[in-house]
Structures are given as structure tokens and as C-alpha cells.
């Protein structure tokens, strides 16, 4: 996969999210790689979901790379971090969106330099900030997906998504490859049929969890979330039901309970909002498929690339070409080595 083609592809969008498999999976490295390669071509807007890009990662105490931006870049970040951005700053707008680090401010870089980005942490605010930046003349807004793993790739925030994976996820190269290909599988889960999509939306606008039967009747369960309500969900299933609609996050525990009650769910389809909302292991997914239960999403995510960072901040690294080859052979997504460059 060539860098040129990679850059060309993402240049075709007005907004792209970068999400990571885990902490330290190389999101910032990916971001810097994109910025470096877009240099002089595009006016880039930069924000994140919540706090990211600490000098030293607060969870793992490893050194995190800073983001170096070009003159003209537009950045949305919290007020308290402005003094950590060493660019010459022009204040473009204040947004009335508050964050733990102060109001989100939109600035333009009047010089090259380092920035520290902490954008808003909820989707509607991210969308507002994205649109403001586009209004100030950005060609492409990059949204850094921050800590919450994949939870921020939601289809509303950006038009396309890049998944970052890397050696930091595990020292076992096979495990990294297996987990990454599983994550991609989840992100690329197929969309459900249009009529089911409509019925599911109806369920989600009136509640969180519901069933659809073979005659397209719906039953909405009186539950706030599917987490820790496995019994209630499973007890409600009736023979004529065909679809289970789950709003919000879907945990491994619920899917395991369904697997244990496989007789009740034969030939079912489970509909979830999108591939970032499900947190199950490859093993459990495999068991679910064998019942058989079909897993579908309301909105599919436009996953453009998998970026690979073969070096880990913990001091070890994989052989780059081996790592990329393994990743490529286990997924249908193009892989980019953001450290070594072209393959």
C-alpha cells in the first residue's frame, strides 16, 4: 500500500476519525504520519474526543509523541491547554462547550509547532466543533478518538474511519493480529435490511432494548441498558421473535448468556447501533455465529485503513514487514506502516 494512495484516499473526505485498538496503539503516530504527508496540500482541522496527547501517558507512564502541525492548521482544544501549544495562535472562536480543562477554543496556527489537543467528549459537541472548523476553511477535519478505545468512531462524527493497531497492544504478534482482525470484523458488520432498520430506529427512539417478531411487531423492554440485564432480556424472548435490537454498549456477558440459551435464539438476528458498541472476544463471536445468530448494525462504519505501528513504547518491536503481511492476510482492509512508511 503506498503512502500516496493512502493520502489521496483520505483527502477525499471532509472528516476522518482515527481510533485505536488500545492505548498506545499508535493513534498519535498515525495522526502525525497523516499530517506529515498532507503538509502543504490541505488545510487540516484537528480535534479529539476528550483528552489525548499527554506528554507522558497518565495510565501507562510511557512517553507519548506530540502532534506537530503546520502553519494554517485549525485546532479545537480546551482553554487550559492553549499554553501547551507552542504555535503562534490566532483565536478564531469560543464555543460555549465546556470540558474539564476549560471551554473548547478554536485556534489557527500562525506558525508551525506542537499542539496539545483535548476536544469535547460528547458526539453532538464534536459535530459542532467539526462544522465550525469546516466553516473556518478546513479541507479535512481529523478527529482523534482518544481513550475510549473504539467508542468514538460513531458514524455521525466523521465520514470515514482509520483504525490504529500496534505492537503496544501485546508482545505476542499473533494475538495483535487476531484481535485487530476481529475488531475490523466488528467495525465492518453488515447493515440490516431497511425495514428492520426502520423498526429498530423506532425501538431506539422509545427505549433501549426491544424485539421484533416475524410479523414486524415490536416489543420494547423497559430497560435502561442491556448491561447486567441479561436475565430480563432472555426471559422476554418468544418463539415468534426474530430480531433482538440492542441500543448502547453490548457486553460480552450478554452475548455469553445468549450463547448459553442458544435454543431460544436459533436463527435470530441481533441488531446493534454500530460496530464500536460491541465488546466481545473472537471466541464468543465464533460461538454466536454457530447458533446461528446473525449480528447486524444500523449504521456501518466506513473503515478506510488499518495503520500499524510495529514499535512499542514498552521497548520491544515487531518486524515491520512480517507484521504488516500478517495483518493484510487476516483482513480485507489495506494496511499502512506509519513508522516505516511505504510497504
Amino acid at each position: 500500500m503506498s503512502t500516496n494512495k493512502f493520502i489521496e484516499t483520505i483527502s477525499g473526505y471532509t472528516s476522518v476519525s482515527i481510533i485505536g485498538m488500545e492505548k498506545n496503539s499508535g493513534k498519535t503516530t498515525t495522526l502525525n504520519y497523516i499530517l506529515k504527508n498532507l503538509k502543504g496540500q490541505k488545510v487540516v482541522g484537528l480535534t479529539s474526543i476528550g483528552r489525548d496527547g499527554e506528554d507522558v501517558d497518565r495510565v501507562t507512564k510511557t512517553h507519548k509523541p506530540l502532534i506537530y502541525v503546520e502553519k494554517g492548521t485549525i485546532v479545537a482544544t480546551a482553554k487550559d491547554l492553549l499554553n501547551k501549544c507552542d504555535i503562534t495562535k490566532e483565536i478564531l472562536a469560543t464555543t460555549n462547550i465546556s470540558s474539564p480543562l476549560g471551554e473548547i477554543i478554536i485556534i489557527r496556527a500562525l506558525s508551525d509547532g506542537y499542539v496539545d489537543v483535548a476536544g469535547p467528549s460528547f458526539n453532538s459537541a464534536t459535530i459542532k466543533v467539526r462544522d465550525l472548523m469546516l466553516g473556518f476553511g478546513c479541507d479535512l477535519v481529523l478527529v482523534d478518538g482518544a481513550l475510549s478505545r473504539k467508542g468514538s468512531a460513531g458514524t455521525q462524527v466523521s465520514k470515514a474511519t482509520i483504525l490504529a493497531t500496534g505492537a503496544s497492544f501485546s508482545p505476542n504478534i499473533n494475538k495483535v493480529v487476531e484481535e485487530s482482525s476481529h475488531a475490523i470484523k466488528m467495525l465492518q458488520l453488515p447493515k440490516c435490511q431497511e425495514n428492520i432498520r426502520k423498526l429498530s430506529k423506532k425501538i431506539l427512539s422509545n427505549g433501549k432494548i426491544g424485539y421484533i417478531d416475524c410479523h414486524n411487531n415490536i416489543e420494547i423492554l423497559n430497560l435502561e441498558t442491556s448491561l447486567n440485564s441479561y436475565r430480563e432480556i432472555i426471559d422476554k424472548v418468544k418463539p415468534e421473535y426474530q430480531y433482538l435490537v440492542l441500543g448502547g454498549a453490548v457486553s460480552q456477558g450478554l452475548i455469553e448468556s445468549i450463547v448459553q440459551n442458544r435454543e431460544l435464539f436459533k436463527n435470530f438476528t441481533i441488531v446493534i447501533e454500530d460496530g464500536t458498541k460491541i465488546f466481545i472476544s473472537p471466541n464468543v463471536y465464533d460461538k454466536l455465529s454457530k447458533i446461528p445468530v446473525d449480528l447486524r448494525v444500523l449504521d456501518s462504519i466506513n473503515l478506510l485503513y488499518l495503520t500499524a505501528n510495529p514499535t512499542s513504547p514498552f521497548g520491544y518491536s515487531f518486524d515491520s514487514s512480517k507484521f504488516c503481511k500478517l495483518l493484510e492476510s487476516s483482513t480485507n482492509v489495506d494496511v499502512i506502516d506509519v513508522v516505516g512508511g511505504d510497504l
Partner: protein, 481 residues
Amino acid sequence: MRYLDEKNIDKIGLRYLLDDLTTISPYGNIKKRELLPIGDILLLEKTYDQLENFIDICKNNSYEVEKIELLLMKLKDISNIVLNLDKGRILDEVELFELKINVMLFNEIRSISNLILPLDFALLNLKHLVYILDPLSKNVPTFHIYSEYSSKLKEIRSKKDIIEKDIFATSNYEEQKKLKEERRELVVLENKEENEVKKQLSNSLKPYVKEIFKNIETIKNIDFTLAKAKLSMKYNAKRPIISKDTIEFIGMFNPEILLDLEGKNQKFQKLDILLKKGNTMLTGANMGGKTVVLKTLTLNLYFAQLGFFVFADFATLPLLDFVHFLSDDVQDVSKGLSSFGGEIVKLKEITGCLKSFNCGFIALDEFARGTNPTEGKIFVKAFSEYINKFESFSIMATHFDGVVGEEGSHYQVVGLKNIDFDRLKRKLDLSNKNSISLIQQHMDYSIEKVKSNIEVPKDAFNIASLIGLDNDLKEIINKLY
């Protein structure tokens, strides 16, 4: 407390009107939250003059008003920034930015408002201040520490720019690292000089603090008075005449109840009422709207004290030192009070006000109905005699018979007085319609002045049988009458 509490503000329909009062800027919203009775005749008349003036302006200069409103919408509250400046603090870039764009907005508003608004609402010209924050006179709503502020800063930045270009051009990692280290040293210098500039800027802005605050105050009044004018126009409210001796309303209404009735395809019967000092009795049938009369009257009287026009075709009213609304739902179970107990606690407050202030208004809705009628009657009679000694006004809705003295004034809700009950009953039996709404349709909600010692109408039996009473029960009641 001298004026209505939160609960009564809700009850009489004032909250509804305040929600309908649409201030646009954060400053107007503050003014709305701090709303209090004006309490001075000259000031009240001046407020009315201004409101009258603004209504004319809204009608004749709607284009300009709309433009002002669009600008008001963009304002942010910069009071804290200005306070910081006043205290001698150094403003950061974001504060300087907010100050700049808001003062630019003030100037923009000024360019329109000073042409059409009266002199009391004239904004000061702050263009010198804007110039400090816009040294290149670019008139764009962004801000940065411009290189023009300091030649030293300019020099550091151009050095930095050269290094950044070199960093951009090289792909050699070691070379880049070296250049970035050089850049870092310049960044430190740039920061230091920027801080120096911020300090100087804050110092040179400080002398304008008074003028900025003056403009904030004016904007507050412009926004608030515009909202008042819009509200007055919406309901065709009228300027009341201030007079010490009487309360008089012709064609009075209550917007909340009016719109509520309109929603049900019914009409609000506008009210005419004249109150002399001392007590006025209000009697009438059940469901006849006595409470609505009290609410509407209290609302209009209090609204006028706040500097608003009133909802009537004509109104005369005095400046009031206190306004109270007493009803038996004041009971506070948590304080262990029954409804009667609650009324007496409130009554203590009212007699306190009567003794300490000159002229006030009290509405009492079926005072003492929670206790036994024999004693209740005595309380009502006593209070109406008591209040006549003061310069205040009160109106009392009651069911009690024989409480109206010879000399006191007395209003009665017309109610079903002019209705043929038997015919209405037959109509009800035939139509099978909801009896309540039919009664409401035939009820005459207007009030009329009656001879003071006229008997309280005995409509309870009629109304109850219209709504529907068990026949056996009806027979017994009939016997007892």
C-alpha cells in the same frame, strides 16, 4: 416578604408571562432574573414613557430593530473579564479575544441603536478600545498577539519562521532534532515577549473599564425594554394611569387563561372592576370564576408595579408597597400546618405589611373556608372591617352569607343567574355531552356591582344536579333546603 412568593407567581400566571418575555442577550437575561417592583412614581412613569417609546420604534423601525436583535444574539457576558481588568489582572488571549469581539458588537449595535433609540439608551463609542485590540484595523472577529505590538516579538517570530521552514524542508531526523531544539529556545523567548505584550495591553485597556460597564448596562436596558415592547404588542397591553385613590380596570384579561381557553375554543370574558380603598367583596356561583378574577386582578396590578403595561383596555392603579395573594392552599404539611393554620400564618405577614407600609393590595380567595362556617364568617367580617382602617385595597372572594356590611362595595359573578335551569337540564339530558363543558358554556363569567347587602347566590344545588347527583341523595338535600 412584601410581594408575591414564587408559588403565587406561578399561580396568577406571571411565570407564564415571564417565560414569554424573550430577552436575547445574556445581559437581558440577567435583568429579567433580577426583576423587582419599581417602587417610585417618577421612575415608574419614566419606565412607562420608555416602553411607549420602544413600542413606537418597534412598529416604525422594525428593520433596524431586527438588526439590533441579531447582534444582541451574538453577545457573550464579558462582565467577569472586565472585572478582572479592573482588578489589574493580566488578560489572556482568549479573554482579549472575547473583549474584542464583544466590544466590536457593541459598536455595531451602537451604529444602529443610537440613531433610533432615545438618549437614555445611547451607547458610548469604544472605537479606541477596538483599535488597541485591532492594531491593523482589519476589523475581523479574531485575535492574536499581533507582531505589531512589539518589534522584539516581530524579530523573534521571523527567526522562528525561518527555522520552521528549515524543519519543513529537511527529512533528516538528526538535522530536524537539532533545528527543533533551536526552535524551542525561540518559543521560550516568544512566550516571554507575548506575556509582556499582554501585560501592556491589559494596562492600556484598564482606563476603559467604566465605559465598558456603562455600555453593558445600556445594552441590558435595550434588550430588556425591547422584549417588554414585544410582549406589550403581542397582547395589546395598555399603559395604566397611576392614581392614589382607585383601582379600575375595563376589559381586563389574563393572557395565560385566555390562551388556554382559546385552545379549547372558548372565550375569556373580559372583566370590568372598580375598587375603592378598603375591602371589596366578591361572591358568586360555584364554577363562576371568582378565583380567575382574583388571579387576573393580582397579575395586572403586580405586572404594572414591575414597569410593564397591563392587559386591559383601560386601567387606573396606584403605586403599591406590597402585594399579597392569600388562598387556602398555603398549607405547609412539613411545618405541621393545616390549611387554616397556614392562612393565619400568612395573615400575620399581611397585617404586618398593612401596619408598616402605606398602600398595598391583598387578594383573599375564600379566606377561612377551612374552618367551621360560623367562626369562618366572623373572621371574614372582622378582616373586612379591619382593613377599612388602612389606605390599602383588598378583594375577598367568599361563599359566606351575611358578611357584606352596609357600606362596603360588593361584586358578584353573574354565573347562572340568568339561566333557566330546567331548560339547561333538559338540554343536558338530550345532548349527552360532557356536562362540565356545557355548564362552562352557559356560565356568565362577567362580574357586576351589586347592592352591598344582597344575598350570596345559592347555586350549589343547581350546579350539583346539573353535573349529576344520585336521585335519592338529591331528594334528601331538597327536603333539607
